[in-house]
């Protein structure tokens, strides 16, 4: 029996209705009393069936819709009346009627034009709120569905006064429903999630309505989403972990498909949508609750869920903001520096997993900021005092450090190469240099050095070198080479490995890991050396080689060191194959052999190894430069060694004592003169090929090697220096300078052009030989005596200096400048070497 007409609150109508409702034939009665009611009420009343099971009366609903569209001014009253009816029906627990009323409201909402909706929406939302306030799941789900429909409508009039905080609160609460029946629970949670999605959609696009990004809302929304995500089936999470691009398989449809969707995937979609809409300023307010949730629910260890969550965030956030997430994660790491090492390790692992996603978008300062903060954490962790007896804590801390390094490596891997160089320079700038350690904390500083060099190695590992002048700028090469001469053998290996990564452009470094005399078997890949590279070699190549032989000469050199140094030299040989390099590398090989022969401080095994290195490099160089004569000669040496000194062919463990250094036959060694002859025969330039025996030995090194170290100008490459050294005869004993030969006259120049170069070279070579012979054969005393004439020079210099010191000019400068007055005083005797 229908009694609703009695419940009108208009007193007059109420009275009338009361009278009329006495009539049993309610329908017809309604029909007649309806005439006395406003038309909109009649229309509304007519949409309700006599029997609630019949559902909405379609034809009458159409009438109502048509009416409200044709006279939109009535819409707000219709809404008000409907809302009133709904709240009455809720109170009386007449749920079917409530559902019908909501259906009608939904239809009206969708049918009517946006501009007339404003007031109707108020009634609508009030009704939705009413439904949400009930304890019945069915009505709450209904409310959420209606709300979603509303959220999808685009209103054109802003509603400044409308507040959504109840909806956010209630929907968040629904997301946490723990209804005893699983089905109901799922649909309640889905209703809550959809509602949240609706609120977000409704508010983000419009600046004038409530700011959904306020922490007060985000603190409710984000944990609700995460709570539902974390209760996903474990399989889902791991699947998603493997497939980071895994966007939601099926786009959820808010009305249909409700049966198949589980709350976790809907929650994930919501999160994606939310994060995707976040602008830069809002990221923090979204991310912060995530951290809080993960902290409180202890989801860092194990961190599957954390990784999953952050992947979802990283893949849905607007790309240009992705690094902000990384920054925030780093900040969170800062704040949780007191938490367990395991937790921090997990965080760092998450960082490592997501940092690559952000790397592509990081630019400029943000890159270094991230690196800096990673290094800071690393330093902090290393410097933190852990009780020695707590083995577990130490292991945990170690893992934390490792994961930080891998995060850094992961980050660098995805950066463009030029930024990798920047990062490497940044890291080496942070690396403590041996000798400058804080004396109070040497072990920690050493560890830090190791760690940072490891970082560097990881970064350089991912670096694809193309042009050496960019991959090894002086500012980077310098500290690197300095570190390569440190006391710590392990550090030196690390530095060499870094150099390998940077020098190797053709993936040869694994093949060249160990000295080998069978070069053809290695299948090395190499290109022609470009102009830029040969310029790089001109500027820095000799330095690198000098550095290598110096570090071979250190007392605590190990097998690893020797192998690493060999590898570096071999890579130089392969990557920088120029004539100049060939000369240098041959000299280098000879120098190494010389160290092996003369340096008695070295372990016998290492001395043997050095012989192997020398031969291997020699063979490699002759093959890369493809000098037939040298290859031939190397084959001879190999043959000799195979017969008489097989120990000198490859690395051996232990067998050192058997072979006395003196006992090595000359034919088993590389001989300078033979090499020089081979070179000459092959028509190679042997300008630099003076037989400086052990030029890299500490004793003689200072004569020229150091000058090249400190003057990285174009004059300092080896051949030039040697030439100069050979020509600065005035400082050499017993040889008079033959300036007469080099008179610059027309005739002389003509002669230079006409004369075959060979004869002149021969003359020069002869000259050099004489000097060297002199130095080699003359007893030391005699040398000293003969060079005592330098005193004359000294006197002269002193004379000049005293004279000049009166003038306000710098003595060095005047010495170089051609000063007419003082020219006769020193012009004759000043050796060329000093001018440079």
């Amino acid at each position: 029996m229908s009694v609703w007409s009695t419940l009108s609150d208009s007193s007059f109508l109420e009275m009338l209705d009361t009278v009329l409702s006495k009539c049993d034939a309610s329908y017809c009665c309604c029909g007649c009393c309806a005439a006395l009611r406003p038309r909109y009420k009649r229309l509304v009343d007519n949409i309700f069936p006599v029997n609630p099971e019949d559902g909405l009366v379609r034809s009458n609903m159409d009438k109502l819709t048509f009416y409200s569209m044709s006279s939109p001014e009535k819409l707000d009253r219709i809404g008000e009346y409907l809302a009133q009816r709904v709240s009455r029906d809720i109170y009386r627990h007449r749920n079917p009627m409530v559902i019908i009323a909501m259906e009608a409201m939904d239809q009206l909402l969708l049918a009517c034009h946006a501009q007339s909706l404003n007031l109707f929406v108020e009634s609508f939302l009030k009704t939705v709120q009413k439904l949400l306030e009930t304890t019945e799941p069915a009505l709450q789900i209904l409310a959420s569905q209606s709300f979603v429909k509303f959220a999808n409508i685009e209103e054109d009039t802003p509603s400044y006064h409308r507040r959504y905080d109840f909806f956010v609160s209630k929907f968040a609460s629904l997301c946490h429903s723990n209804h005893p029946e699983v089905d109901v629970l799922n649909s309640l949670r889905l209703a809550g999630l959809r509602g949240i999605q609706g609120v977000v959609r409704k508010t983000v696009s419009d600046d004038l309505v409530e700011n959904i990004w306020e922490p007060v809302h985000m603190d409710k929304i984000v944990p609700s989403l995460l709570y539902n995500m974390q209760h996903a089936r474990p399989r889902r999470i791991s699947n998603d972990g493997n497939n980071p691009n895994g966007h939601p398989e099926e786009q959820t449809d808010s009305e249909n498909g409700a049966r198949n969707i589980d709350p976790s995937s809907l929650a994930e979609n919501c999160l994606r949508e939310l994060v995707g809409r976040a602008s830069f300023g809002n990221i923090r307010s979204v991310i912060k609750p995530v951290f809080k949730h993960l902290d409180l629910h202890e989801l860092w260890v194990p961190n599957d869920f954390a990784i999953y969550t952050f992947r979802v965030i990283m893949y849905s956030i607007q790309v240009q903001y992705s690094y902000a997430v990384v920054e925030n994660l780093m900040m969170h790491l800062d704040t949780s520096s007191r938490s367990r090492a395991k937790v921090r390790t997990s965080m760092a692992n998450v960082l490592a997993k997501i940092i690559s996603i952000a790397a592509g978008e990081s630019v400029g300062p943000s890159v270094l900021e991230i690196v800096n903060s990673l290094l800071k954490h690393l330093k902090q962790s290393i410097m933190s005092a852990i009780p020695i007896d707590d083995a577990e804590a130490i292991i945990d801390e170690k893992q934390f450090q490792e994961s930080l390094i891998s995060a850094l490596a992961e980050f660098a891997y995805h950066l463009p190469d030029y930024q990798k160089i920047e990062i490497m320079m940044f890291i080496i700038g942070r690396t403590p240099v041996a000798g400058e350690f804080d004396p109070n904390n040497v072990p920690a500083e050493t560890l830090l050095q190791h760690m940072l060099l490891k970082c560097l190695l990881k970064v350089s590992y991912k670096y694809q070198s193309t042009n050496f002048s960019t991959s090894l700028p002086l500012t980077f090469l310098d500290p690197l080479l300095r570190t390569s001469l440190g006391q710590d053998a392990y550090v030196r290996v690390l530095v060499q490995e870094i150099l390998h990564c940077l020098l190797d452009r053709h993936e040869n470094r694994l093949k060249l890991k160990k000295p080998c005399i069978d070069i053809c078997g290695l299948n090395l890949v190499f290109d022609k050396c470009s102009r830029a590279d040969s310029l790089f070699y001109k500027n820095h190549g000799s330095r690198i080689l000098v550095n290598l032989s110096e570090s071979l000469d250190l007392t605590n050199v190990t097998r690893e060191n020797i192998e690493a140094i060999y590898c570096t030299a071999a890579l130089v040989c392969v990557e920088l194959a120029t004539d100049e390099m060939l000369v240098d590398i041959l000299r280098w090989a000879l120098a190494v052999q010389d160290v092996a022969l003369t340096n008695t401080m070295l372990h016998p095994t290492n001395r043997l190894s050095l012989h192997v290195v020398a031969l291997s490099i020699f063979i490699l160089a002759s093959h890369t430069m493809n000098v037939a004569t040298l290859i031939e000669y190397s084959a001879q040496v190999v043959a000799a060694r195979t017969g008489k000194a097989p120990l000198l062919l490859r690395f051996h463990e232990g067998a050192a004592e058997e072979l006395q250094q003196d006992g090595i036959l000359a034919e088993c060694l590389l001989d300078f003169n033979t090499i020089a002859d081979c070179m000459k025969e092959a028509g190679k330039d042997i300008m630099g090929m003076i037989p400086l025996q052990g030029p890299f030995n500490a004793n003689q090194r200072y004569s020229w090697a150091d000058s090249s170290l400190h003057q990285p100008s174009s004059f300092t490459d080896l051949s030039n220096i040697n030439l100069d050294g050979a020509e600065s005869n005035t400082s050499s004993p017993g040889v008079t300078r033959r300036y007469a030969e080099e008179e610059v006259t027309f005739e002389a120049l003509k002669k230079v052009l006409a004369e075959p170069a060979e004869s002149r070279r021969e003359a020069e070579y002869e000259k050099r030989q004489i000097i060297c012979e002199k130095f080699r054969n003359t007893p030391f005393q005699q040398l000293v005596a003969s060079s005592s004439k330098g005193d004359v020079l000294n006197d002269t210099l002193n004379q000049i200096l005293t004279r000049i010191s009166i003038m306000p000019c710098q003595p060095e400068l005047t010495a170089v400048q051609p000063n007419n007055q003082s020219l006769p005083l020193y012009g004759n005797n000043f050796p060329d070497l000093f001018v440079y």
């Binding site: 009133q84 306030e133 609160s169 429903s177 723990n178 603190d219 944990p223 609700s224 709570y227």
Partner: protein, 227 residues
């Protein structure tokens, strides 16, 4: 159509298992659900009470006591008009945690929020916290105090009714204040000391129009606020 005069948001907080949900259920639905599971996140109930002929709608947010839900529960503090801090009189630890809860309230809730301390489960024989201890704590922290039992329904209705009554009073006084402030030519009002919500409330009560005790029989039954 308004079916209520005022709407107040009341949030229940306190350790897990002190009986927050049971209190709410008892009040809103009149039932005592035995074996009530732990609340997840936040639960929501609504109840309209009648105070002196005024319909007051109470939105009651029942929060989870478990630590892991703290992130979401804290977000509900801010908009609350009243916070009910519940402990279990038969479990000392729940009482010991009160200072922690108060710190959270200080941090997240509005400074003007009405704070009520509730010792629940007075029906139990194994009481560990005597009423005087709870009362002393409430005095120290400027809170209202009441002991309840959701099981035998003692003081449950009173708790919420008193809260509603206090909140109405606050609301009225606020209104009065604003209207006074708007009156032109008013001599500067004596500022109300804002040392705490309780002090504030008391003073406001004094300023409110006098009520006869007959009209307001339960007014004194809450522990009198202390200055």
């Amino acid at each position: 159509m308004e079916d209520y005069k005022y709407l107040f948001k009341v949030v229940l907080i306190g350790n897990a298992g002190v009986g927050k949900t049971c209190l709410v259920r008892r009040f809103t639905q009149g039932i005592f659900p035995p074996g009530q599971g732990a609340t997840i996140g936040v639960d929501f109930m609504i109840k309209t009470v009648d105070i002196d002929g005024l319909k007051i709608k109470l939105q009651i947010w029942d929060t989870a006591g478990q630590e892991r839900f703290r992130s979401i529960t804290q977000s509900y503090y801010r908009s609350a008009h009243a916070l009910i801090l519940v402990y279990d009189v038969s479990a000392q630890p729940t009482f010991d945690c009160l200072p922690v809860w108060l710190r959270e309230v200080e941090e997240y809730a509005s400074p003007k929020v009405l704070r009520v301390l509730v010792g629940n489960k007075v029906d139990r024989d194994d009481r560990e916290i005597p009423p005087a201890v709870g009362e002393a704590f409430s005095r120290m922290n400027n809170m209202y105090f009441i002991e309840t039992s959701a099981k035998d329904c003692s003081n449950v209705d009173k708790l919420f009714q008193e809260i509603a009554r206090e909140l109405i009073q606050t609301m009225r006084n606020q209104r009065q204040e604003t209207s006074q402030a708007r009156q032109p030519g008013t001599i500067a009002r004596t500022p109300i000391p804002m040392t705490g919500p309780l002090v504030n409330m008391r003073q406001l009560t004094l300023m409110a129009p006098p009520k006869s005790p007959g009209q307001n029989p339960t007014a004194a039954s809450l522990d009198p606020p202390v200055l």
